[in-house]
């Protein structure tokens, strides 16, 4: 499985993603520079976390105009799997590949911590190795992770099983205290209609190695690595 990782000048989780796909999973992984106009031959595209172009304006607002983005949209429209993590999620919403917007955290502060999540949908190519409603722990690290979408559109996401992760308490409840950033309906990750684009604020690439405190993120990459795999 050939992974491609988009690199904007302010991307800073590019190496961490590559560490997981190349070093942990042993898959060929290519960095793709933002000034390119074409994607190389890849099977999965990752848009990593970071501050694409500094994000002084609005996270991801400039990145969507980047030379590579036409090729990204094209890849996604043809059904290629695209995983946007953190800043990647923000860019996907700015680019219109996913609905909604990521507002500033309710606390107005950057938050870096482990967060409990519930896998709301394991019927995706990103999450098929998780159990239905499985509780997992992944780190979050963002200033603008407060997902917003109007009520009607949220209802539509819910009806179509497009919410992939929700912030929950350790015991799996959507209590107010379990929502770290104020996201509407506790949404931590969503997919597009076709199911080939996933945007999520938590960082699965930071939970792929036991020595770093958790391994709940590795199955997301393994799901992509083994589209039909069982383990």
């Amino acid at each position: 499985m050939r992974f491609g990782i988009l690199v904007f000048p302010g991307s800073n989780c590019d190496f961490d993603c590559k560490y997981v796909t190349a070093d942990v999973l042993g898959e060929p992984t290519t960095f793709i520079w933002h000034r390119e106009k074409k994607l190389p031959e890849i099977d999965v595209l990752i848009i990593p976390g970071g501050f694409s172009y500094g994000d002084y304006l609005r996270a991801g607002a400039i990145a969507r105009f980047s030379p590579i983005m036409d090729a990204v949209v094209d890849f996604a429209e043809k059904g290629g799997p695209v995983l946007g993590i953190c800043n990647g999620f923000q860019i996907l919403t700015e680019a219109g590949l996913l609905p909604g917007a990521l507002l500033q955290n309710r606390s107005t502060k950057f938050i870096c911590q482990w967060s409990a999540l519930r896998v709301e949908s394991n019927q995706t190519r990103f999450t098929h190795l998780y159990q239905p409603d499985e509780l997992i722990d992944l780190p979050i690290a963002h200033m603008d992770g407060n997902y917003y979408l109007d009520a009607e559109a949220v209802a539509d996401l819910e009806k179509n099983d497009r919410i992939v992760f929700r912030y929950v308490s350790k015991t799996g409840e959507t209590t107010p205290a379990a929502n770290p950033n104020g996201s509407i309906r506790h949404i931590a990750g969503i997919r597009n209609k076709a199911g080939n684009v996933l945007g999520m604020m938590p960082h699965p690439e930071r939970a792929a190695d036991a020595v770093l405190g958790g391994i709940d993120g590795i199955r997301l990459f393994k799901s992509l690595q083994h589209p039909w795999g069982k383990s």
């Binding site: 000048p9 302010g10 800073n12 989780c13 190496f15 961490d16 560490y19 997981v20 070093d23 970071g50 501050f51 172009y53 500094g54 994000d55 002084y56 502060k109 950057f110 938050i111 870096c112 911590q113 780190p139 690290a141 200033m143 960082h203 690439e205 930071r206 792929a208 190695d209 036991a210 020595v211 770093l212 405190g213």
Partner: protein, 755 residues
Amino acid sequence: MSDSHYEALPYHTLTDEEYEKTKKLLNRAPNATELAIFSAMWSEHCSYKSSKRYLARFPTKGKHVIHGPGENAGVVDVGDDWVAVFKIESHNHPSYIEPFQGAATGVGGILRDVFTMGARPVALLNSLRFGPLEVPKNRYLMEQVVAGIAGYGNCIGVPTLGGEIVFNEIYSKNPLVNVFCLGIAKKDEIVTASAGGIGNPVIYVGSKTGRDGVHGATMASAELNEATEDRHTVQVGDPFTEKRLLEACLELIRSGALVGIQDMGAAGLTSSATEMADRGDCGIEIDLAKIPLRDASITPEEIMISESQERMLLVAKKGREVEVAAIFERWDLDVAEIGVVTDDSIFRVKKADALVAEIPVKALTAEAPLYDRPVKEPAFQDMLLGLQVEALPEPKSYSETLLTLLSSPNFASKQWVYQQYDHMIQNNTVIPPGQGAAMIRLKGTNKALAMTTDGNSTYALLHPYFGGAIAVAEAARNLACVGAKPIGLTNCLNFGNPERPETMWSFGLAVEGMADACTRLEIPVVSGNVSLYNETLGLGIYPTPIVGMVGLIDSAALIETPLTPGFKAPGEKIMLIGDTREELGGTAYLKMIHAQERGYPPNLDFEKEKSVQAVVRKAAAAALLRSAQDCAEGGLLVALAESCLLSPSEVGGKVEIDAPSFRLDGFLLGESQSRILVTVKPEDLAALHALIAAEGLSSTLLGETGEAALQVSVKGRSRPLMRVSLDAMKEAYENGITDYFETHSGSRRRLNDNG
């Protein structure tokens, strides 16, 4: 220009004597630009003119040291072909004037010091000092400093792994922001900040030059008063540009086209050019007409001393200019060839064809004034040392005393702070912030690096020698608690006005204490920074020597199962290694409960300290320890409470002590040094005892871990001395800081606009 005019020039801060010296060195009077250059290079900040003679005391050699002080950062061999590159630096003055940008650019500066050496930054720490949080201005300063550190580190993608924060009234008008950065590189990738190769091009890269930070180095070399609170002297940080500069510089260094490179930090273009020429024993000629400018109206003096951020000066190999330019253009950074390396040892500044300044390089460096400033013991010192212990009432309730300490911001959880820092990025964080020393693994090896910052200014106030020595000992002890062997130290010496003899008295003694501790514990000083003039309106800070220390862990087992301070499971033995004496002077207990900062601080026996650390490292390597916790500020009682609070599985402890031969509060809350609190499985107790006996140390078996509470009893007394539930301790510990910043249900302090 006639002499009478020089005082009116905007960018000079020389004394009359220093001005006379410049005339002698030049054989003429300096012009306005030259005067600005001299002022910047001879400022305390750049020249270390008051402190240099003391700094020579530090041991700087060691078998692992590759580059000691004098480079942008120290370099230490960690084996497997890797080196660790680190330094700590202050950004105190700017952080008081403009806390967000002051702190942010402090982070930016220390990062550049590390990556100019060819190392990729992998960790940041910071050591912060603020006034009490009851004061709204202090809350503002803390909130903004933390946000500034977070904003910069998070964006550039280097984890901030904590450090320490201390609150004391003395820092209300002089907050301290010391930032530490650690980088790693392959041994052969290290470069230095030397110019060389006559005819080689001098190249400017990074942001354009503006007026921000003009006067920064000289501002940092004077006391603050209301008039000097000029925000324009503070630089503005741009972490996105720094990220690009970081990647581009590392690419350039790997390309082999580079001769030397230096950050344009304090005193900007002036210091980077002259220091590189100085190290390379050559001259440099630059043309101001070629400098990328933000504003065409900026004067030559301003260009020379601007401290606009995210700029680098480099010398490249002749003939490879196009290659160098291509790297920086790829990262959308300005790049301009502004000069050339010359053989005449002169720093020459032109603007197109006009000569602007011409100064021998050594006149700015080797010939900079050196002062042997007068030294005098403060008149109040004896009074400070006098402590009448008998007059102090012992706590009526140890539970309440403990909860008071835990809820004070000095001991309370710093989670509110470090959860604003991305401390996990780069996928290396093995021990996150908040648990003593932090630890990162070195990917692809069986090694990890632990790091800590420490310093106790109350001790340094009362007894500068022990204050300095204990800062070193405690940092090393914190590293021992995760099983790491110290490999090097960097320090930041924050003091008041050196023109006061009392300041230099404490400075000299603190340096002596640190130097002795480094020598005896065999830890070389590889880099550092001196920050003087930490005074506002005549009020100076306590002497505040801060130590940043790095330790090596050379065992896969200690990375897979790191040693941390929290109790792990019930039924394990709690043991205190080391001796406890009645040492209440300078303790946190004395200050917070009895409102006194006085008395002799704890004594330090170097040999005993060394043995205690060695035993804990050996026991850690042999996997005998389940937890290890430095027993320092707050004494045994706070150490026990922290081990409960940091337990990943809500384990508490039951402790029974022998009635001490001295005051009970001295035993439980005194701060005797060279003590480490550990837990051990019952079946490993004998092996641990054997290790302790082999070092000739004593230890005390205190009790056993158990249910979620801390209980302390004294043998022979019918009822326990105290029992506090883990929940009660958590309530105090977890809200101690957040209560000042967030109103939440259960908040014990109601904030209003008046604080």
